[in-house]
Symmetry: C2
Subunit: 218 residues, 2 copies
């Protein structure tokens, strides 16, 4: 598997998660900042290698083999992210691009040992689940903060958007994984929320709330 093939597979997996069905050429191209014609080329190659199901004009989906490959790459990416944060004191907005490089290192032993060094973590620094060696992972049951009823609250367990700018915003506002967030008020007009974190309260926009996952206390 070349680096490029791995990146395509990973992208197809990520897009596929949102909408289940066949993934469009255009969406892949957009996500990867490349052109649709390049996608077509690569998709044919992946199809020849039995990594994707592909029929002209009908979009693409991962085969079982392709899914396995995708989960392998994602496992590596997320383990490296944990390493960067836990062992090298990177902040959660700095890890992505380095992990994009590290995820392509080929060595099973390396990744198994890394897993051990990190104590077999189940989630990465953004709260996303880390697949195990066989591709299995536990998706936490979580809710977007924007969908939590007024008066309710939960522990922050993840972010939907993990762009550096969003993560930096959260840092600035002392919002971090593991923190308890309570929804105190919700403004009908724009969907903005007043939330309580620890002893203080804040006003956050709907956009922010729609990118924060919390786990509701049962």
């Amino acid at each position: 598997m070349t680096r490029s093939e791995e990146n395509y597979i990973k992208t197809i997996f990520h897009i596929g998660r949102q909408g289940q069905e066949a993934v469009s050429t255009n969406s892949i191209a957009e996500q990867m900042e490349t052109k649709p014609s390049s996608v077509t080329d690569m998709v044919k190659k992946l199809s020849d290698k039995n990594l994707v199901n592909y029929k002209r004009y009908q979009g693409v989906s991962l085969t079982d083999l392709g899914t396995k490959v995708a989960l392998g790459v994602i496992r590596k990416h997320r383990l490296w992210e944990v390493f960067l944060v836990e062992k090298l004191d990177f902040s959660w907005d700095e890890v992505h691009e380095v992990a994009e490089q590290l995820e392509h290192i080929k060595s099973d032993k390396l990744i198994d040992r890394l897993d051990r060094l990190l104590n077999y973590p189940k989630y990465d620094p953004h709260g996303d689940p880390i697949p195990d060696k066989d591709g299995g992972f536990e998706e936490r049951d979580k809710k977007l903060l924007s969908e939590v009823a007024v008066g309710e609250g939960g522990v922050c367990v993840g972010v939907k958007d993990s762009s550096a700018s969003f993560l930096k915003f959260l840092d600035k506002n002392n919002i971090a994984l593991g923190q308890f967030i309570q929804v105190l008020e919700m403004e009908e007009f724009d969907g903005s929320l007043v939330i309580g974190i620890g002893d203080s309260t804040r006003q956050i926009s709907h956009q922010i709330a729609a990118n924060l996952y919390v786990k509701i206390k049962e």
Copy 2:
């Protein structure tokens, strides 16, 4: 810098260390398991980028800039080797090929933090010196075991050949860095040695002795 360019630079540096002068196209090709014609192509490109001095038919040598690049890659390679051995319990014969991949990861922050995590090591698992951020490094004063006088001895500080087969041989014979080795006898006929390690003695060939570095006790 592409991965390939970095590999050429690194190879030119390593060959240049042995013989000082301009490095031949053929020796680069041989070392890199590629063809001389490919080397010529790449060398031209490196010359355009001011990384090497090159005149047709006259061999090639690194410029100051090229040397800096080489030391940077070597620093990364050796730090990763230390990481693999110290943190992930790789043995010293397993680290090379993984480090070959890791050395091309681009992130200054990553490498500085890795250096810190490992406590600023000065030598890699084979006893080779690790350049610091500015490219400076301390070459230990050491001697090949084959050049040590009978009756003398020293602490094993490095290997000249770091191929997996040689390193495994050393493991099998309980020879490791840090161990005190004494030359007890030397066979004139084939240059083989009888050496003492700890409480036991062993017979080793000249070939082995000529690939082991020791530091003579002053």
